[in-house]
Symmetry: C2
Subunit: 399 residues, 2 copies
């Protein structure tokens, strides 16, 4: 048996060989969930000037300082009504006022608004019955939208409010990271279709899609170094994933094909249980991940190796919701090995319990369907006791 | 001012008028994130019979009971090798064994496997040096995939492991709920394009898309009851959303248009802050939601009214990750009113703090971009004190 590589050591070593994914422009409208390659800050204020939040009159607060119901202050009424939809240049001087609707910008010279109910009109004048402070009844510049806000960070997935901000900024396109993935399914038994359909392919493909990656169609190869190598030499996707052919005792056509390409970096065998047969390589700066074709081993590699790898490239791959739950059985992992433990979280007492599902090993889709979460046991820990509280990542809801 | 309606009362009342969304068939491969209209249980076991997990020999455990290195048990070797990719009918009798590879099914009559290293061959016989128990070195039927597992629940969003299960079941299509949405943007100022782009539209559209809904393109209408009514009378989408024209003091073209259609159910005005001008109607069993065109009010309506409404229809709309954080300022809401409080969560001390962002009211995209979460203050609570620990829904990561 070959030496198993420490996940965190590999993730550190591989850094100097990897090039980040390319940056590509896409329409803002179809960027939801993609990884932004730009940090975009907002560049202007809304309202641009103080804006009335009442129907009434725009005026200078200092003019109505002495106003009261018993001694209304008369102001000369300028012609017209300022409306939210019509913006015309106007400026008011001392002793003047102009009608204004809710949502309209104050004219130059005004610094407050007084609501209709505190006024009356008579003979071309408006009488103000109540004093107002400077900026009373207005929303201030920047309250709705301000300069210097982070609309989207480089590496962040585009969210609904980022799209709103980009649209408001007048942006029609945004640069995102090219997060394209292609997947090769290796195995005579898959090509021949003898026993089962390549369901792990669809699991892995959906996993990437769920995390905002774009996955190319289904490719198959026999247990044949030449055939696998040919696939590896073609293709433009940033990430190449190979399922199957990674065994550590002979049945390792995928690893041999990778080695034959003389990549800048390659390791085979990770100190992870399950998923130890995974292989990580870098060729022309792009990551190639080979993993077991068995679903649990593949999921372990995706969560324990691939997700941190993508994060180290600056992509803020989201985490599943985390909950604390009490283990119903002891879990043990060999020292120095990362444990990927499938669990079923359920309500018990006032809290949550997590039942470890060890059934069936790496090939057990049963454990992924019966379960709804997983616990990652770090390298330096040998496991957790029954009754211990652990942190569980939930990939499915608690029933 | 009209009476404001209690959210939970409306959500209860509206039930009897709503028809759930239609069920439509889609390819399994493109069903990720959609809401399943079926509960699918697994129908078979893998392996179908015990399967060897070693390279060695299939045999009957009882035959090798007395085996030890000093007294190996000889078994008659049947011809051929059982491989994972080749399945032929074979049965072994007492005193017989057959070569088997890892992953191959045991033949009829065998109940265990012994690894190569515990055997040697000589003169057409295999000598077994070590006893094995019944089912030793095999994986049992159902370990990898079992009967009766829930591959997907009705109402659940389709996940990567559900797709794997459906593919394994040989399913090419799945019935999902028709979660189509169409959005009308109401307002002279939007149609004329005077002041700003309809960024709230893109926020709301993305919100629905993020939650697995399919949204039709951009529609605009003037502040005109006839124009809005015409849009309402067309269209096939399950959910109709209208942005703007919901004011409670006159500027309510959207509400008037809805009322003119004589819907089965309509309420205008919710006890929610912000977002009180929202209007919910049911026409021909389908929900129509009108909400403010201001982004914070719209988000409040989406989270406080629309999300629970969709859940009550049986769609398991996912929740954002929840964290506990300490309020840095007091938050107050009127008794009987649900508060939708935007906050910025940040690390402080060993935990998390939540700063309420009250800046700018309903129109403040600033508060959505500066913030990363929200607190929902229920109807029966008047608010929370500074220093109190509250539950925050995070729509963006904590920096």
């Amino acid at each position: 048996m070959r030496e198993l590589h420490s996940v965190h050591v590999v993730l550190r070593e591989v850094q100097k060989y990897l090039k980040p994914p390319a940056e590509v422009g896409v329409p803002v409208e179809s960027s939801l969930g993609l990884y932004s390659a730009e940090t975009v800050l907002s560049t202007f204020k809304l309202p641009p000037r103080p804006k009335s939040v009442v129907d009434g009159y725009a005026l200078r607060a200092s003019d109505v300082e002495p106003a009261s119901p018993s001694s209304p202050v008369p102001l000369r009424l300028l012609e017209g009504i300022l409306r939210p939809t019509v913006n015309y240049p106007l400026s008011i001087g001392p002793g003047e006022a102009v009608r204004i609707e809710t949502g309209a910008l104050l004219p130059e010279g005004a610094d407050a608004a007084v609501p209709l109910e505190d006024t009356f009109e008579e003979g071309g004048r408006v009488y103000v019955l109540k004093r107002v402070s400077v900026y009373e009844n207005v929303s201030l510049p920047g309250e709705e939208y301000d300069e210097g806000l982070t609309i989207i960070r480089r590496g962040e997935r585009v969210k609904p409010q980022s799209i709103a901000g980009l649209i408001l900024e007048g942006r029609s396109r945004i640069k995102v990271f090219d997060t394209s993935v292609r997947i090769l399914n290796v195995g005579d038994e898959i090509v021949s279709g003898t026993f089962f359909r390549p369901f792990t392919h669809f699991f892995v493909k959906s996993w990437f899609e769920q995390h905002g990656f774009r996955v190319e169609g289904l490719s198959l190869a026999r247990d044949d170094v030449g055939e696998i190598r040919e696939w590896l030499e073609g293709g433009e996707a940033y990430i190449s994933v190979l399922l199957g052919g990674t065994s550590m005792g002979g049945h390792d056509f995928t690893v041999k094909a990778l080695e034959s390409l003389d990549p800048e970096y390659i390791v085979h065998g990770f100190a992870v249980q399950p998923g130890k047969t995974a292989c990580l390589a870098v060729r022309e700066g792009r990551p190639i991940v080979a993993m077991s074709g068995l679903p649990v081993a593949a999921m372990s590699t995706l969560e324990v190796v691939v997700k941190p790898l993508l994060r180290s490239l600056g992509l803020e791959v989201p985490e599943y919701p985390k909950v604390k739950a009490v283990l119903t059985r002891r879990v043990t992992v060999k020292m120095g090995v990362v444990g990927f433990v499938r669990v079923r979280v359920y309500r018990c007492g006032g809290g949550l319990c997590a039942e470890p599902l060890m059934v069936g090993g790496s090939g057990s889709l049963t454990s992924l369907l019966r379960g709804n979460g997983f616990v990652v046991v770090p390298e330096g820990v040998e496991g957790y006791e029954e009754g211990e509280e652990v942190e569980v990542y939930l990939y499915r809801g608690v029933e």
